[in-house]
């Protein structure tokens, strides 16, 4: 089996969410003295990107996405240990929450899964989270980005409260903020002073990558 065939098998293991096969291939790559970073970038990263694309167009769904993410996580842990100096560094820390008064968390669960799949360190505060709790936890977690979700027109004002509270506490420049949810628009994000708005989970990940700039 040449290198490209091997890489194709890695990609296929990720797309099929086969963590046992993905892990076995990671170990085999090390036994064959392959460059672990190249295997990560050309195999596992390409695989999870394809999974993300299939998720975006509805050819693959949340459970499969999570299985694929799990396969990548386990395999890249094995390969990362072989990389001197930790070449595959963390992408950044993201805190996400559904705002106070809002109990909708399905959309947030998708964002959470996509962020983890893309290598972010994510703290999920859950739903119905008071504004001050978001700030306190962001400080403890040393978050780079605070993402909030609101599904109701009556609760989206909490995203505005967060912006005001961050400014009042002198913390606004410390964090990048991103907002989303069914009634939320780019105009709303601009109005309240958020750094970014995401129409859907996939766009959310891309916007966070841009915000962090890593």
């Amino acid at each position: 089996m040449d290198n490209q065939e091997f890489i194709n098998k890695v990609i296929e293991s990720v797309i099929s969410g086969d963590d046992v096969e993905a892990e076995a291939l990671a170990k085999q790559a090390l036994e064959n003295n392959m460059d672990p970073l190249a295997v990560i970038n050309d195999g596992y990263v390409v695989g999870i990107k394809q999974v993300g694309d299939m998720f975006e167009v509805g050819e693959l769904f949340l459970p499969e996405l999570i299985q694929a993410a799990e396969a990548v996580k386990k395999s890249t842990t094995i390969l990362n240990e072989a990389i001197t100096g930790g070449a595959n560094k963390d992408k950044g820390k993201v805190l996400i929450a559904t705002v106070e008064g809002d109990i909708h968390d399905i959309g947030k669960a998708i964002v959470l899964s996509l962020l983890v799949a893309n290598g972010f360190d994510v703290l999920d505060l859950g739903r119905d989270v008071p504004t001050l709790d978001i700030i306190t936890k962001a400080e403890e977690f040393k978050a780079d980005v605070i993402g909030t979700s609101a599904l109701l027109t009556t609760t989206m004002v909490r995203q505005q409260d967060l912006e005001k509270a961050l400014r009042n506490e002198g913390l606004r420049d410390k964090y990048k903020t991103i907002v989303g949810g069914a009634p939320v628009t780019v105009r709303w994000a601009e109005k309240i002073g958020a750094d970014a708005y995401a129409e859907n989970a996939g766009e959310g990940v891309n916007k966070i990558i841009s915000l962090i700039g890593k």
Partner: protein, 346 residues
């Protein structure tokens, strides 16, 4: 130049060529996602004409009017702070708002909380049916998450899935489905027997494929129990979210279905009317959203053997995502749904 809007309601100005380009791109997006046929050149011309008319309010030719119905109607008048009872609200819809069918609803608008006040709601249904002549539906949402922790007895899939507990998440959703079916059948039966002509399952599938499955099964049971009952299945979005991912109905995987396939399962289950929904993208223009919504809805109508009523409201059916949907967009979408989409109702 044409004054139109973005999907978030803000005004923009486009040339006629830009309007056409956006419509064509919206059509192409629907074709790609839904794997459906595009609109024809004459239909796109028609949409361009509808978008470019200078009038604030546009309408349809005589004879092309559609059935008009309103979901959760009784809640919307109550929200305005007007002290008025349900029968009078329904009379307003029938006699002032030109509604062809009426929907009576409770403020919590979900089957689970309604099951404990069924006798009170039955009274409102019976009273309303005595003072109105239009078909009277009782409406509520399946709202599957109300059966999950912390609001219900089942584990919460939205917490289990991100933790990688996929089997447990699927099992929790399957348990919630059984509770939801029971409540939907119980409440719907009560309202029908109190005098309602039928039931509207509104915002179906908001919690994904398991919720759509529960609604189809409840419809199936009600159809068997009441052969003449009117049952409308109105969707929450254009796409059935694969939150479970493996559920099938009549041998068809529910996750990932678009309106033209959703309607076939609704028919199979026994629905009388299907409420198609196409989401508005707030970052794209109204012409883009219109082209996309009409393409999806037209494909749905062509596939359907039951009437299709498109949802044309805040953030759906090309209507911008604003609290008070602007009449310029609502009227244009409505005209396009009638003349190009060939829908049966709105």
């Amino acid at each position: 130049m044409v004054v139109t809007r973005m999907g978030d309601g803000s005004f923009i100005t486009l040339s006629k060529d830009e309007v056409r380009r956006d419509i064509e791109e919206g059509v192409a997006d629907a074709v790609k996602r839904g794997k459906i046929e595009p609109l024809g050149a004459d239909e796109i011309d028609h949409l361009v004409d509808i978008c470019c008319r200078p009038q604030k309010f546009v309408s349809v030719e005589k004879g092309k009017e559609l059935i008009l119905s309103y979901d959760s109607g009784s809640l919307k008048i109550t929200r305005l702070g007007i002290p008025i009872g349900m029968p009078q609200i329904m009379q307003l819809y029938e006699r002032a708002f030109a509604a062809d069918s009426l929907e009576l609803a409770y403020v919590h608008y979900s089957f689970k909380p309604i099951k404990s006040i069924v006798p009170e709601e039955q009274y409102a249904v019976a009273e309303t049916s005595l003072v109105t002549t239009a078909p009277l539906l009782y409406g509520a949402m399946p709202n599957l998450p109300l059966y999950t922790k912390p609001d219900g007895p089942c584990d919460n899939a939205a917490e289990l899935l991100p933790a990688g507990k996929i089997d447990q998440a699927r099992q929790a959703q399957e348990e919630a489905v059984e509770y939801a079916i029971k409540d939907m059948v119980f409440v719907s039966s009560g309202m029908y027997e109190a005098g309602a002509d039928g039931i509207d399952f509104d915002t179906t599938g908001a919690a994904g494929d398991a919720e759509f499955y529960a609604t189809l099964k409840a419809t199936e049971k009600l159809r068997e129990k009441y052969p003449d009952m009117a049952i409308e299945i109105g969707m929450a979005g254009e796409f059935v979210l694969g939150f479970h991912g493996q559920l099938e109905y009549d041998g068809v995987r529910l996750a990932g279905l678009y309106p033209h396939k959703q309607v076939k399962l609704a028919e199979k289950a026994g629905a009388s009317v299907f409420g198609a929904v196409v989401n508005t993208n707030s970052s794209r223009s109204f012409p883009w959203n219109l082209g996309r919504a009409i393409t999806f809805c037209k494909a749905c109508v062509e596939a359907a053997d039951i009437p299709v009523h498109a949802n044309v409201g805040m953030g759906v059916g090309a209507v911008p995502l604003v609290m008070t949907p602007p009449i310029d967009c609502v009227s244009r979408t409505s005209a396009a749904m009638a003349e190009v989409g060939k829908l049966d109702g709105l």
